[in-house]
């Protein structure tokens, strides 16, 4: 269970988040929406321990353990994984050797099991053998990059998976596959947190499972069910914020 209490985050010398409290309930799919520059990505990168994001106050807890000052490695090992908004290419590093190295760190997997697992989960997100034999994100389209993020989520089965814009730069087929991956993670007990601009992805998810958080100026200004998404799509952020008295 993830708890961020009274969190402050600074990036490039500017305070982006001041006193955020975000305790996403387990066994839900959480959706964070908000205007550009409201601090959604900052939150996700700060939670994952990015060195450029300085935590200026508050505390992050995962299953009762303080992870506020841990390294990205330790945070990942504690069970919080971030799916990147812009997953980078890594020249010369094959996806499979990388995933093998990542999974070797997890107990109880043999080399054969790992290869079998990569193949099986790879198929689940519609990645071909040829794609899995490439280097990390080399020659990948937006959709393929995001599939690889979800694949890593499926392989690691973390306590909390944050997906930063899994639906941007993604075609319809990929969207469907990514949604299916999210459902599967949910079924397996992962708390999924999705940062998004649009409702498209939500069309492919079971709306009953979704909690929506609206972000503004580094704060969660309101939380509700999936109808909030429809409201935003119809009226835009400004009007919704005005109506809820959140701005």
């Amino acid at each position: 269970m993830l708890k961020a209490d009274n969190l402050g985050v600074k990036a490039n010398g500017t305070d982006i988040i001041n006193a955020l409290t975000f305790n996403p309930a387990e066994e839900r799919i959480h959706v964070i929406m908000g205007p550009n520059g409201s601090g959604k990505s900052t939150l996700s990168r700060a939670l994952a321990g990015h060195p450029n994001y300085e935590i200026t106050g508050g505390r992050i807890e995962l299953n009762g353990t303080d992870i506020t000052d841990l390294s990205p490695t330790e945070i990942a090992k504690s069970g919080l994984i971030l799916g990147f908004q812009h997953p980078p290419k890594v020249e010369g590093v094959g996806i499979k050797p990388f995933l093998r190295k990542v999974l070797e760190a997890q107990d109880g997997y043999s080399a054969e099991e790992i290869d079998e697992l990569i193949k099986e989960k790879g198929e689940a997100v519609g990645m071909t053998e040829e794609q899995l034999n490439r280097n990390i994100n080399e020659g990948f389209s937006g959709g393929e990059r995001k599939r690889l993020e979800v694949l890593q989520g499926l392989l690691l089965g973390p306590e909390v998976l944050i997906l930063d814009e899994p639906d941007s730069g993604v075609d319809v087929d990929s969207l469907r596959v990514i949604a299916a991956g999210i459902e599967q993670l949910y079924e397996n007990g992962t708390t999924v947190v999705i940062i998004t601009h649009y409702g498209n992805l939500l069309n492919h998810l079971d709306e009953e499972k979704i909690t929506v958080h609206l972000f503004q100026d580094g704060e969660i200004v309101t939380t509700g069910d999936s109808s909030l998404v429809r409201e935003i799509e119809e009226k835009g952020f400004n009007q919704v914020f005005r109506e809820c008295g959140c701005n």
Partner: protein, 445 residues
């Protein structure tokens, strides 16, 4: 090249060279033309120019040698443990190990040579220790020093005067050798010289793949290693040469490569420098005829206080010829690495490309690149690109955010960086290289 020249003549050094020539001649019973060439070179020494960033007087190394005579290796059992282990990893059988290391082991040369050499001769390849080749094969005479003159520089004069060891390799017309030929230079002190001379001669339409290892486990402290490779690639011949260098920290190396590539020929040289020694300065030169191609690839791990200065001139002399010079460096500690490849387009429809990529691993490590392109025709296509930088923070964060620690993530990224250059290497070799990279990166963390 920054030169600290020292042109003062030291009469006792001249005596030193001549004394060394006498020792070699006494031992080898070589043909007159070889001895004559040695004396010509010794005479050229004083007047020859010296352009070296480190060595102001090559003859200084003569006296140092005398102080620390080294052990002799007489059989496989005397090989240093790490060399044995490397040969094992390369998947080379014990018989072949004896053969390939035997190339520079004088004492039991006859015995080993006979089986090794006849084995290859059946496939159309003459391979012989250079001391034997100058006696046995008259054709060596016109190829030896065919691509350089001892008058060019003090280092070449010195090499030519005192060379010993090395091999002569000739692949007969049309022969396509489908298994790689391993040439392992285990340089040990022999007389006072570390100056092997290598000739690789691929006749018309022949093909061969060579893997050359160079190491010097028993060299005395602060020594100078001067090898020379002359490559003759005839029409439509193809030679792939992979060189693994792993010099100890106290050796200065000045390898020289010269090659001609005749019409339609191809030469590809991949140098993997895992240990560049105290200083490694090299400026290979290649002349390429019509539709020929030369490709130089290198990966260098610069560590400690090393100075690495890699030149490389490619002269595109024939229409349709092409050349590439791609270097990658991982620059660590207080080392300094400079690359200065040059490609000159002197004929029609020629193509050349130079690239240089470097990962600078810490402050104080210094990377410089000064490539050169020159075109005097209107339809050459020449290009270069370079990037000097650190490991990208976003890539590091990406790998770490999956649970890899900083060291593991850095090792993966550095391996990925060198991978495009080394991926064609034999498997055992590749594993060895990766392990050395991992250890080097670990040392940096």
């Amino acid at each position: 090249m920054v030169a600290i020249n020292n042109l003062k003549t030291r009469s006792f050094d001249k005596t030193g060279i001549e004394k060394q020539i006498e020792e070699i001649v006494d031992r080898n019973d070589e043909p007159n033309w070889v001895t004559d060439l040695r004396y010509r070179a010794a005479n050229a020494y004083d007047g020859a120019p010296l352009d070296d960033p480190v060595i102001s007087d090559p003859l200084e190394f003569l006296t140092n040698h005398k102080e620390t005579p080294a052990d002799r290796i007489k059989s496989l059992e005397d090989l240093p443990e790490e060399t044995k282990a490397l040969l094992d990893k390369l998947g080379i059988s014990e018989l072949e190990q004896r053969a390939i290391t035997g190339l520079t082991i004088q004492d039991d040369r006859e015995m080993i040579d006979s089986s090794f050499r006849s084995q290859w001769e059946e496939r159309g390849v003459i391979v012989a220790p250079m001391e034997d080749a100058v006696k046995e094969y008259p054709e060596v005479r016109e190829r030896f020093s065919g691509l350089f003159t001892p008058e060019e520089s003090k280092l070449l004069a010195y090499h030519t005067a005192i060379w010993s060891g090395g091999i002569f390799l000739r692949v007969k017309e049309g022969e396509k050798i489908d298994i790689p030929l391993h040439l392992f230079f285990l340089i040990q002190q022999e007389g006072l010289a570390q100056a092997p001379h290598i000739i690789i001669w691929a006749e018309e339409g022949s093909e061969v793949q060579l893997v050359e290892g160079c190491t010097a486990p028993v060299l005395p402290k602060t020594s100078l290693h001067l090898d020379m490779t002359e490559l003759y690639i005839e029409e439509d011949a193809r030679v792939d040469l992979t060189v693994l260098q792993n010099w100890p920290e106290y050796v200065h190396t000045r390898p020289t490569q010269r090659g001609t590539i005749e019409e339609g020929g191809e030469l590809s040289i991949t140098t993997v420098g895992l240990g560049p020694g105290k200083s490694n300065v090299t400026d290979p030169q290649y002349w390429v005829e019509a539709n020929g191609r030369v490709e130089i690839n290198s990966i260098t791990l610069s560590k400690g206080e090393s100075l690495v200065d890699l030149g490389g001139s490619i002269y595109l002399e024939g229409d349709g010829s092409s050349g590439a010079n791609n270097s990658k460096g991982v620059i660590m500690d207080n080392s300094r690495t400079i690359t200065r490849g040059v490609i000159s387009a002197e004929a029609q429809e020629t193509k050349g490309h130079i690239s240089c990529d470097a990962l600078v691993m810490n402050d104080g490590a210094r990377m410089e690149t000064y490539p050169g392109l020159s075109s005097s025709v209107d339809n050459a296509e020449l290009s270069h690109e370079a990037a000097i930088g650190k490991i990208k923070e976003e890539e590091l964060f990406y790998l770490m955010s999956r649970g890899l620690d900083e060291e593991e993530a850095t090792q993966l990224i550095v391996q990925g960086f060198v991978n495009p250059v080394i991926e064609g290497l034999p498997n055992g070799f590749l594993d060895e290289v990766k392990q050395i990279i991992d250890l080097s990166v670990q040392g940096e963390m």
